[in-house]
């Protein structure tokens, strides 16, 4: 078996007195497309936010590749809390697409995509621009390059956000409910882009979604999380058609009735 690219090892996350992740063990193989499902408040976003370094951990170790994310190896081999320099280096491997897009409103679509490559990766302006246009072509928005975010629909904004994340060439792309903030008629165009990414790239993808049909289509593996730990996981055909855990059955019954 190949080395996992993501590994949560007994990870605990507390907010004050509330324990959100309770000794979570979780691995993702390189190139794997994994969907996390589970009830509201179960800690799905927290997992992604820990990986994107937006939230630190209370205990345990998160590994990205063969390096700890929130720790550094000291000279004597023990782990000590990560410095900002370490986090900065680790973040180059990760990208994130947010539920509410979070485009920079004061920049054109094109600048949204070239900003970080130019100023963080120090890519030349012309090269960054060319690549951004390529990405815009991929998400079907070349003619909107010079518009500001407020001039776009939610679906278009989310597609720009995907292009923006890809421009940083991450190994791992995190999606936190990328279509939840969209009007129903705009969900399809964003899912289409994510589906294409999943099919054509060896990018590792970690997706949180409430769209069960979509999860089924694009994932290699689906994880059901409840109360801070993974309760059941498996290939989508198995988990969706023959869940073994009662909690999974209850959850799936509830969401599938809704949908």
């Amino acid at each position: 078996m190949t080395e996992p690219i993501i590994r949560f090892e007994k990870v605990v996350k507390r907010f004050g007195d509330v324990t959100v992740l309770d000794g979570l063990d979780f691995t993702v193989a390189p190139g794997e497309k994994v969907t996390i499902i589970g009830p509201s408040g179960s800690g799905k976003s927290t997992i992604l936010r820990i990986l994107m370094t937006l939230e630190d951990i209370s205990d345990g170790v998160v590994w990205v590749g063969d390096e700890p994310l929130w720790h550094e190896k000291a000279a004597d081999g023990t782990l000590k809390p990560a410095s900002e320099a370490h986090l900065h280096r680790m973040r180059t491997r990760l990208g994130m697409v947010f539920q509410s897009f979070n485009l920079f409103p004061h920049m054109t679509v094109l600048r949204n995509i070239t900003e970080a490559p130019v100023h963080v990766l120090k890519v030349g302006k012309a090269e960054a621009r060319e690549r951004a246009m390529g990405l815009l072509d991929m998400v079907g928005l070349t003619e909107h390059a010079d518009k500001f975010p407020y001039q776009l629909s939610g679906g278009q904004q989310q597609r720009v956000a995907i292009a923006r994340a890809l421009a940083m060439r991450p190994d791992i792309l995190l999606f936190d409910e990328p279509t939840s903030a969209l009007d129903p008629e705009l969900v399809g165009e964003v899912q289409e882009v994510i589906r294409k990414l999943a099919e054509e790239h060896d990018l590792t993808m970690l997706l949180v979604t409430h769209e069960m049909r979509f999860a089924r289509e694009i994932s290699d593996r689906v994880c059901f999380i409840d109360a801070g730990a993974i309760r059941e996981e498996g290939a989508p055909e198995e988990l969706f058609t023959a869940p073994t855990e009662e909690r999974t059955q209850d959850f799936l019954r509830a969401v599938l009735d809704d949908g």
């Binding site: 937006l54 900065h88 947010f98 979070n102 920079f104 409103p105 004061h106 900003e115 500001f148 407020y150």
Partner: protein, 226 residues
Amino acid sequence: MNEMTWTDYLPVLWEGAWVTIQLTFWSTIFGALLSFAAGLGKLSSNRALRWLSVAYIEVFRGTSLLVQLFWLYFALPLVGEAIGVNLRLPPVVAGILALSLNIGAYGAEVVRGAVQAVARSQYEAAKALNCTRRQTLFRIALPQAIPEMMPPFDNLAIQNLKDTALVSLISLADLAMRAEQLRNYTQDSPTIYTLVILMYFGMALVLTALMRLLARGVGRWRPAGR
């Protein structure tokens, strides 16, 4: 010579108004620079810088402009004498300095508030793209915060214009001073002060128009009507 009519007042008042305009212009510019320096200083991760900014803001917000002005003009030279440095400021320098320092302390709170009001999700997006703290502040947060600062900055600039009248007390020949001189000479208070009010009001209108123009310039990316 007591036969002066209101048209005879105008050249004199205009001379004073020109001084007022210059005082307003320079102290607003320097005040804006101080606002950004102290406002961002207060948000800095450097403790010394943070402390310095807070001290400046609190001192100049907590004392009256008049006292600050008198201190710079009358007290500072004596302090200088005591330590053997010439700190005698020309009235115009003392005036601009006091006005700038005063407006800068209020402006700093505007800058700090506007930067802190930028949505947390914007900071998170910047972090996800691996922007440094500095890049996030200057390239992501500030450009979004500046348009939010414009209405309060407009108020401060108007406040500043009105405050310039205080510098006549350190013998600067601004509009207020010229009005006072004319009044002493002609005793024609109603005409003179009506003209003076109109002139201050006119300057305030122009100032607001300029601030609007500036606001439109820095907020081009926002949907119309905001």
